[in-house]
Amino acid sequence: MPPPLPSRRTVLGGLGTLAVAGSFGLAAANRSASAIASDADVRVRYWNLFSGGDGVNMIAMLNAFRRADPRVDVKDSTLQWGNPYYTKLAMAASGNRAPDLAVMHLGRIPGFAPGRLLDPWDVGLLGKCGVREADFNPVLWKRAVVDGKLYGLPLDIHAQLCFYRRDVCGKAGLLGDGGNLAAVSSPEEWFKALKTAKKAVKGNLQVLGMKASEPNFSWWFFLSFYTQLGGTCLSADGQDVTFDTDKATRVLEFLRQHVTDGYTAPVGIADGEMFLNGSAFTWEGNWSVPVFNDAKLDYGATELPPVFGRPATHAESHCFVLPHQAARGGAANEGAHRLAAYIVRNALAWSQGGHIPAYAPTLEDKDYLALKPQAEYVSAMDHMAVEPSAWFAGSTGLLAQRIGPAVASSNVGSARPDATARRMKDVLEKLLTMKNPMAGEAIVEEGAAT
């Protein structure tokens, strides 16, 4: 006679007990299953916000590092880009459970309470890894230093660009010597160029993609042209609003005209796809370079047209930061330094994603100079239009969140340009009256001013 089988209830009960016991066991150990499984010497937890082409390049660079430095186990996590990322990073740092290394936009450093949410880099240790101040664009390095300490290790400069199709623009006679886009120097010239281009664009495709309804891009484009007009947001000491509503109105009217004149669709159309299909222009971040390269387009990319005189195009920088850990130091910290230094120094792969490298030796690398269209817009690093230095500024910060939708609603015609300009000024004034929530001892913001 076979032994009696356990009844179904016994089995279910046993499984249930096991599940409960196991769950409580893991909860009590408070370690995720993957952390228990890992067995490397040093584990560097690294957070970033790169997806798409940038994500692919970052993974390739991480893999190269893993081969070069096999003792360090890099555990990378990609979080949702933009504001959610910063929220998570700030909370992890304030809760003392931060990753060992993270990527951040340079403009966000003032809002991250250097010294409280961020730990300074050990410049000596970086030097041992082959990274020195002299190798960087001084403007970038200075922006990353607060109170004499380095909080951000710059990786790149990324800018908003005017992409143009050589085939379409050539047909319209808009190309100058050498096959690059001929310069324009006033709004009238720009719209004339668009008008000519329209004839060369086939079908009902839009002539220009400018993401009119997208708040972040709208704000970035606004900032570019507003800076061209010489406009500023805050005084140098960061105490007063210097926003010029007349200049802002001019810029908003300029942006709006693209929609009213029918050069761009107000909402819902994928600008990138339209460009692939035959739009003459699209305004985009340089991170779209790989997309257009993959499509084998004949195109170029330049700074946003300097229609108001002095050239300026919105730019930001990715940099590496050390989120605050109470017990920062030791092997993981050293691993973080090694990883960041390696990536900054080997950023050629990164520049294939369209970014201008922050590490100067790369800029002279002949492989970099051969990259197209990167070489065409490298001058953007000298014409950066940046957000004011304030705790609420920086990529997708509070300022962009509040002010971006205003620009977008003007673009699509829901609000009048002059009213929008006043609203933007109100936003700045209100933000300025808000106390920096991270202010307090150990926070020095003035140092971040450029």
Binding site: V20, S23, N30, S32, A33, S51, G55, P84, A92
Partner: protein, 291 residues
């Protein structure tokens, strides 16, 4: 208060075979149509997950994959996040369910059958607590949990989900309905309060406890808001949170996103197919308790 025991979600009437009357034909046809609309999104998700990423975004779009592939499914399991999150979801939901059922049964019984100073005032307080949730008081709840130092831990996710006044109220109502004579006989035999509770009351209460357990498990498995607020470390995230906040380095890949969503959603649906009766009565029961 409705007597919950009356709910019989599965009405099985034995009798003469049902006839296809014209009314039935029309109703059934409508039923099939509406069910089709309700299931279509699932079908779309399954088909998408079985396409290659390029086919998923091909124009014009189409339902059935031209080339069937399981690359999306392979990819999500290779990167490992999904399995991680799955384990985390199980850990959190199982712990929450266990604690809620245990603590809820004790408290429900305590309120229903024992007396102590200030009981009515406390009961009133618990009822007022029904209006509090992470959606309503999320920020203060977060700072409270933060000051306990359990942000980004399993306990930080679990414990705040373990004080559901609603479940206590449901069990309280149930225990009030159990005839007192059953207990009194045991008391006369000299059994203590705890023994009566564990040997007489609990065995009688399997259906409502199962209902509370099922409801709690579903709620906890699907909970997004609180884990979203309290976890930052991707290794510790639960399924709904991880899927929404952790990106694929290769951008939005719809086939993988759909496959991941199915991994998160299917376990409960499969369980539902097998335990339909219990789950339906569980949900109806907990919901109707508010009537």
């Amino acid at each position: 208060m409705t007597a919950v025991s009356q709910i019989s979600p599965r009405v099985r009437r034995r009798g003469p075979r049902k006839k296809w009357t014209p009314g039935q034909i029309v109703l059934t046809a409508i039923g099939v149509l509406v069910s089709g609309v309700f299931t279509a999104p699932f079908v779309w998700a399954v088909f998408t997950s079985l396409k290659s990423e390029t086919e998923a975004v091909a124009v014009p779009t189409h339902w059935v994959p031209q080339e069937w592939t399981i690359q999306a499914w392979q990819a999500i399991f290779e990167t490992g996040n999904i399995t991680n999150w799955f384990v985390n979801s199980v850990v959190v939901s199982v712990c929450v369910t266990f604690v809620v059922v245990l603590v809820g049964a004790l408290a429900g019984y305590g309120f229903a059958r024992t007396g102590f100073r200030g009981k009515n005032a406390l009961l009133g307080l618990v009822m007022a607590g029904l209006m509090v949730s992470p959606a309503v008081l999320g920020v203060p709840l977060f700072t409270t949990v933060q000051s306990m130092g359990v942000v980004d831990t399993y306990w930080g996710m679990i414990l705040p989900q373990c004080a559901p006044a609603a479940m206590v109220y449901i069990l309280y109502k149930f225990f009030q309905g159990i005839p007192k004579e059953l207990e009194e006989a045991a008391f006369i035999d000299g059994a203590g309060r705890w023994r009566v509770f564990f040997t007489i009351v609990l065995p009688l209460s399997r259906p409502p406890l199962a209902a509370v357990g099922i409801f709690t498990f579903i709620a906890s498995w699907n909970n997004f808001l609180w884990p979203y607020m309290v976890t930052n470390n991707p290794d510790l995230m639960t399924m709904p949170n991880g899927i929404a906040t952790v990106m694929n380095s290769y951008g939005i890949q719809w086939a993988q996103l759909m496959a991941g969503g199915l991994v998160a959603g299917l376990p409960l649906i499969i369980v539902f197919v097998f335990f339909q009766r219990q789950i339906v009565s569980g949900v109806a029961h907990t919901g109707l308790a508010g009537q």
